[in-house]
């Protein structure tokens, strides 16, 4: 447990001092969403109809943008090698780094999302569900992404490869995330898509640290 805390604290401190990652991801999220009213036109009903989908797709791409750097710096400067040889198991290292990554990139997205929802003229009924669905969905995205980030470690053009590997795996989160918000807007119960999002989160929490750790071991050989 001390190992988990040590890595979490270090990653948060590094993110705080360097500061750029978090700001860039939120900026990308905002700009990507703002492009839609410009592209689709300012008609309020059209925007309201596509709002949940646009917000989720933009969130997905923002998470993807930040994932490449999840292990990259530590791999380049040799820290990852030493962490892999330190007493805490590599699965714990992965979990700590994913949690730090989510706190730095996922949480700011969730805070920015309601503001952008207003911009997209999304009906107010969906706000609570949007936040709840993002709270369940974005950690799952970070966890799935960690497996991909570990697999492409050390390869050139890793960013593009990562997108091809990971985006298809993001689809279930997208479907049920949008489903929950649209159900709430339409006045239907959102319980089922939320439970499924929760199930995806639970499954990725249980499986992805192992997968990512296996990928890292391969990269460190």
């Amino acid at each position: 447990m001390t190992g988990f805390r040590a890595i979490l604290e270090r990653d948060l401190r590094l993110a705080l001092r360097q500061g750029m990652d978090s700001v860039m991801v939120v900026m990308f999220f905002v700009i990507a969403v703002v492009l839609f009213p410009l592209g689709v036109g300012p008609e309020p009903n059209t925007l309201a109809r596509i709002a949940p989908g646009v917000l989720w797709v933009a969130a997905l791409l923002s998470v993807l943008l930040s994932l490449e750097r999840l292990f990259h710096n530590d791999f380049e400067d040799g820290s990852l090698e030493l962490m892999a040889l330190s007493p805490p198991s590599l699965e714990i290292v992965v979990l700590a780094k994913v949690l730090a990554h989510w706190l730095v990139t996922g949480l700011p997205l969730i805070i920015a999302a309601p503001v952008l929802a207003i911009l997209m003229n999304m009906p107010a009924d969906g706000f609570a569900l949007l936040i709840l669905a993002l709270l369940l969905g974005t950690p799952a995205l970070s966890l799935i992404g960690a497996v991909g980030a570990a697999l492409v470690l050390g390869s050139r053009r890793g960013g593009v490869l990562l997108a091809l590997l990971i985006l298809p795996l993001f689809i279930p989160v997208l479907i049920f995330g949008v489903g929950a918000v649209e159900a709430a807007i339409g006045g239907f119960p959102a319980r089922a898509p939320l439970l499924l999002l929760g199930a995806i989160f639970a499954a990725t929490l249980a499986l992805c640290p192992w997968g990512a750790a296996a990928g890292l071991r391969q990269a460190l050989e």
């Binding site: 270090r10 400067d77 090698e81 962490m83 007493p87």
Partner: protein, 219 residues
């Protein structure tokens, strides 16, 4: 008394054989100096000893028990120093070291100061690591060795970028570690002054390209 042994170790990098049939024996208090030309597999052998790289053949044992059966215990007893210094430029020297202390399960409040002083970089403790020179970063990385209770030190070219005085300090550090029953395996091109060190020349185990090709066609 601890004993770290390797028996008939083979090493492959992807499909290229590096060395074959290598044996070593490292008793408590012992030092193994790995020498050999570039590409003879000194770094690979150290990574193999650390468990980063699985051996293609042969076995590593600790007190007679295969290392592969309990990797957690092996990680807890070793300290590895590679080519890269693993220093985060945004953190101060002391913060860098405190992180590794926490990972090793040592108390940063008491362990970091003495470890920095052992390599004479105590005065740099509060300086962000991006202002350190290559040699100072190396010393900061070496300071990790003084943190934990690791019995087995695996040092890959530890003397790189160090001045003569610091190389002396490093030798003292290694000697104190060995006096306490610790063991060390070190690869080097420069002469480290280690008492009663066993020299392992990897050149004699190297698989030459010609032989590898001949065996491949035979197989």
């Amino acid at each position: 008394m601890d004993q770290f042994k390797g028996a008939s170790l083979d090493c492959l990098r992807s499909t290229r054989p590096v060395f074959r049939g290598l044996d070593f024996d490292l008793p408590a208090g012992g030092a193994l100096v790995l020498t050999g030309p570039n590409g003879s597999g000194k770094s690979s052998l150290l990574r193999l000893m650390a468990g980063l790289l699985p051996p293609a053949g042969g076995m590593l044992t600790w007190n007679g028990e295969p290392v592969a059966e309990d990797p957690d215990a092996h990680r807890a007893r070793l300290a590895y120093l590679g080519h890269l210094d693993a220093v985060k430029p945004a953190l101060t020297a002391a913060e860098n070291l405190a992180f590794w202390a926490q990972l090793e399960g040592a108390d940063p409040a008491t362990a970091v100061g003495p470890a920095l002083d052992a390599l004479a970089i105590g005065h740099l403790a509060d300086l962000p690591a991006r202002f350190l020179s290559a040699g100072q970063k190396r010393r900061l990385n070496l300071a990790r060795l003084g943190l934990g209770k690791a019995v087995l030190w695996l040092l890959d070219e530890p003397a790189t970028a160090l001045d003569v005085e610091t190389i002396g300090r490093l030798c003292d550090l290694i000697q104190r570690h060995r006096d306490g029953g610790g063991m060390v395996a070190v690869s080097t091109h420069s002469d480290l002054d280690l008492k009663d060190a066993v020299n392992l020349d990897l050149g004699q185990y190297t698989v030459s390209a010609a032989r590898a090709a001949a065996e491949e066609t035979a197989a």
